[in-house]
């Protein structure tokens, strides 16, 4: 069971990385337009 001494800090680091990504996403405006981007991907570029 001693593996948890490595796993738990590892999990926390991974989690912190996720939080970091979340902060970055907010800062760069990834959540600014929740409606437009969702449908933009469904629209063809050349018709």
């Amino acid at each position: 069971m001693d593996v948890i001494y490595g796993l738990i800090p590892g999990m926390l680091l991974l989690g912190l990385l996720m939080v970091g990504i979340f902060f970055w996403a907010c800062k760069t405006g990834q959540y600014d337009d929740m409606d437009g981007e969702a449908s933009r991907i469904l629209q063809d570029d050349d018709d």
Binding site: I4, L12, V19, F23, D32, D33, S39, R40, Q43
Partner: protein, 819 residues
């Protein structure tokens, strides 16, 4: 997509045959509702973007494009105008434009595609949520006015956007809360399974300290970072000597945290840690705070957007008669500005030359065009009709009527005292009792020893942890709001729900709220021994009116449709006199229609009997339109703004429920009085200016009465905020909807009664919940004071109390579901 013949090819709205416009699209004749739609559709096809119509998710969502001004855009290319909003690089320029008229992702597609096809445009990205366009273009290949022109040709109005500090601040605090929420979410999820490990036996073995340390490592930054708003809020409110909801939250969180930290640091063998409780608690409450800040941001955004959409430039007539384009910011009071047909009026002012009709609906909610002649006042933000006028400036930017209303809205938002809900009233007592009980416990047990005294005192604080108490109101309101939204009632500020049933005064706005805001023909009175039949006269009048775009014209045309008559084709020499009347020659007869004063000036013979009748109708609140054929008055058309179908029954029910109802309107006294009488006699405030509406609500409040305000126009916005509860009718303007606490989306007045009934049930549930949490405390606190609460008991009873409250609240949904 099936576009039938009786629907507009572009916007798919139903087109009356006689009003339809035809145009050739792809070598086929198509029907359109207006020339605006034709122009937009042709632009779309010429640009090769016709697959736009396949992208529209819901055909009904399109509406005819606004009548955009396509000339004089060059002024946007002036350095002085661009200085405020354009970022200049070596070869490119970048600007953010506000786009009006976007409804769906197909619009985004259309604008981006059309702009990217323009030579010189490097990047065009539309943000659908914020309705903004970011555009980058090459300086030497294209100009901003071309970009704006392209948007307008597609039927979207585009105006430069400048960020405002107030809005930025709200945005800042909103995203700040989101960061804190995100972090708390991360620690909460990790702590959950650490506590599962601890509860399921790990607290006995070798990993006990390791897991406790990890839990503390997670909880500490959560308390300090995510919990900071509560800690600082509690500190502020204690400093002001008032115990708000932040105080018990902070005390609960801090006490639980410090106790757990003590257990961890002292490496005690028996104590339990409750870091998970701290973090969960902070996370759940942060969600509520975040949602609250989102709705606040939206409200400020709507107000700001209104200001942003105001024209930024004006055509100034210089002393020497030359017309110069200037930014509105650079204007001075007393200068004369020319306003062209179809332009939005950029300033408040007094007409010095010309005549026109102005659409003031965005200010007053009144759909009738208002005639303007020399010496009349015009207001910034309203839309000029068919005439060109010169206006002497007497108000600019924030000093205009519109600016003042927006200021009123903002200041009312700030000064309005927060609603005291039941829990708010109990919280100070709750805090006081909890603190003194835990103090008593500490003093009592201190004879046994400092450590056990501290533990007992803290366990009192933990056990009273205001979870159940804090959830009592929000849970009930959340469930009730959910039930309400199913019925089309949106509760923006949940706390008002609790209040709704206790208020006894309701003030209704008249136009657009109780009445439909659309004119109809009530009656047609002919002179005695008239040479023409009623049908002929109606046909003639409709033919004349169909040439003008006045709302009265719509009323007449609808009447024509009701009687299933057709327009007369044979018309010549049409003339339109804004605010006064129309004239023309039909079937060789000279026909005129308009106000009596105007006809008298035109030397028409007036029938005194008809004039008397008109006066009588006017006393009852109807307006009148006279029709003259060959210089003789032949008919009187009685026009009125009909009540909404459920207005009378709603008012009656509300009266029976014991409400005191008043009517508020900017209209003439006789009109308002007649509506009040039709509704069975109400107290009526007539001829109230927009600013005064707000004052009337204040008068109520100064005499210690609480008020519900129901309204729809921008002019109602300050009153909606000032009132204890503002209810906006869904068909209203953005700003009134943002100012209100409750929005009725189905445009039905009956929903007011529904809301009140639901709020009564909600209040009952809140009271039950408070009783449950008090009962829980009455049982558990004495046990804690006696130091009988073992960690296991605490771990079981604390969630049970919260669960009870949540389950009781969800009964609200079941109960309502049965009805």
């Amino acid at each position: 997509m099936n576009r039938t013949a009786s629907h507009c090819y572009h916007c798919h709205q139903i087109v009356p045959k006689q009003l339809a416009v035809t145009a050739e699209i792809n070598e086929q004749q198509q029907l359109f509702c207006c020339s605006g739609c034709v122009a937009v559709c042709q632009t779309i096809h010429v640009s090769g973007l016709e697959s736009f119509y396949q992208h529209i998710p819901n055909v009904d969502s399109l509406s005819p494009p606004a009548q955009n001004d396509l000339t004089d855009l060059e002024s946007f290319d002036l350095e002085s105008v661009q200085a405020d909003f354009v970022i200049e690089n070596d070869e490119t320029k970048q600007a953010i434009l506000l786009i009006e008229g976007i409804h769906c992702s197909a619009c985004v597609w259309l604008i981006e595609r059309a702009l990217n096809k323009m030579p010189g445009v490097q990047q065009a990205i539309v943000n659908l949520t914020q309705k903004r366009l970011k555009v980058v273009w090459l300086k030497n290949q294209c100009v901003l006015s071309d970009i704006i022109l392209q948007c307008r040709q597609l039927g979207y109005d585009a105006l430069p956007y400048q960020s405002s500090t107030a809005l930025d601040q709200y945005n800042q605090s909103k995203s700040n809360l989101l960061y804190r929420l995100g972090f708390a979410g991360f620690t909460m999820m990790n702590l959950l399974w650490i506590s599962i490990a601890l509860y399921s036996g790990a607290d006995q073995g070798e990993y006990r300290y390791f897991l406790q340390w990890i839990a503390m490592a997670l909880a500490t930054p959560t308390l300090l970072y995510s919990g900071w708003p509560f800690l600082s809020g509690a500190y502020r409110s204690i400093k002001q000597g008032y115990a708000g909801m932040d105080v018990p939250i902070a005390i609960g969180a801090l006490a639980t945290y410090l106790y757990s930290a003590y257990i961890t640091l002292s490496q005690s063998q028996t104590g339990e840690v409750y870091f998970d409780t701290v973090v969960n608690f902070i996370f759940v409450i942060l969600i509520g705070r975040y949602l609250e800040s989102v709705s606040k941001y939206k409200a400020v955004n709507a107000t700001q957007r209104l200001l942003d959409l105001q024209p930024k430039i004006a055509n100034v007539i210089e002393q020497n008669g030359e017309i110069v384009v200037k930014p509105v910011k650079a204007l001075v009071l007393g200068e004369v500005v020319r306003i062209k047909p179809g332009e939005k009026i950029p300033v408040d002012g007094c007409v010095v030359d010309g005549m026109t009709e102005v659409d003031e609906s965005m200010l007053t909610g009144e759909t009738n065009l208002v005639g303007k002649i020399i010496k009349d006042d015009v207001f910034a933000g309203t839309l000029n009709g068919a005439g060109s006028i010169d206006v002497k400036v007497n108000g600019l930017l924030t000093k205009t009527v519109l600016g003042k209303i927006i200021q009123l809205v903002e200041s009312a938002q700030m000064t309005k005292a927060p609603i005291q809900c039941t829990t708010d009233k109990i919280v100070p007592w709750f805090v006081l009792i909890t603190l003194s009980l835990s103090m008593m416990t500490f003093i009592y047990w201190s004879s046994v020893g400092f450590e056990s005294a501290l533990l007992a005192a803290v366990s009192v604080l933990i056990i009273t942890c205001p979870c159940a108490f804090g959830l009592a109101t929000p849970m009930s309101i959340a469930v009730a709001s959910g039930v309400a939204s199913v019925h089309g009632i949106l509760i923006k500020n949940g706390a008002v729900f609790e209040q709704l049933s206790s208020i006894k005064n309701i003030v209704f706005d008249k136009t657009g709220t109780l009445t439909q805001g659309k004119i109809e023909v009530k009656e047609m009175v002919l002179v005695d021994d008239c040479d023409y039949s009623q049908e002929t006269l109606l046909k003639w009048l409709a033919t004349l009116e169909s040439r003008s775009e006045h709302p009265v014209a719509n009323a007449i045309l609808n009447e024509l449709k009701k009687q299933s008559l057709e327009l007369e084709a044979n018309i010549s020499g049409f003339d339109y006199f804004p605010g006064q009347g129309v004239a023309g020659v039909i079937d060789g007869q000279s026909v005129m229609a308009g106000q009596i004063q105007w006809l008298r000036n035109k030397k028409i013979n007036i029938d005194s009997l008809l004039e008397n009748k008109a006066e009588k109708y006017q006393e009852q609140g109807y307006s009148s339109l006279f029709l003259a054929v060959n210089e003789n008055i032949v008919a009187l058309f009685v026009l009125f703004d009909p009540l909404k179908s459920d207005a009378k029954s709603t008012i009656n029910t509300l009266k029976k429920m014991g409400f005191n109802i008043s009517l508020l309107s900017g209209d003439r006294y006789s009109t308002v009085q007649s509506v009040a009488i039709q509704l069975g006699g109400l107290e009526a405030f007539a001829e109230v200016l927009p600013q005064q509406k707000y004052q009337i609500i204040q008068q109520f409040q100064q005499s210690q009465k609480t008020v519900i305000m129901v309204g729809d126009g921008i002019n109602d916005a300050p009153a909606l905020i000032m009132a204890d509860i503002g209810i906006a009718i869904g068909s209203g303007t953005d700003i009134s909807i943002e100012s209100a606490d409750i929005v009725l989306t189905h445009d039905k007045l009956e929903q007011i009664i529904q809301s009140i009934e639901l709020s009564r049930q909600c209040l009952r549930t809140i009271h039950q919940n408070i009783i449950i949490s008090i009962l829980y405390n009455i049982i558990m606190v004495p046990l804690a004071m006696m130091a009988f609460v073992t960690p296991l008991v605490a771990a079981i009873t604390m969630p049970i109390s919260s669960l009870l409250v949540i389950m009781n609240a969800s009964r609200l949904r079941i109960k309502k579901g049965k009805n």
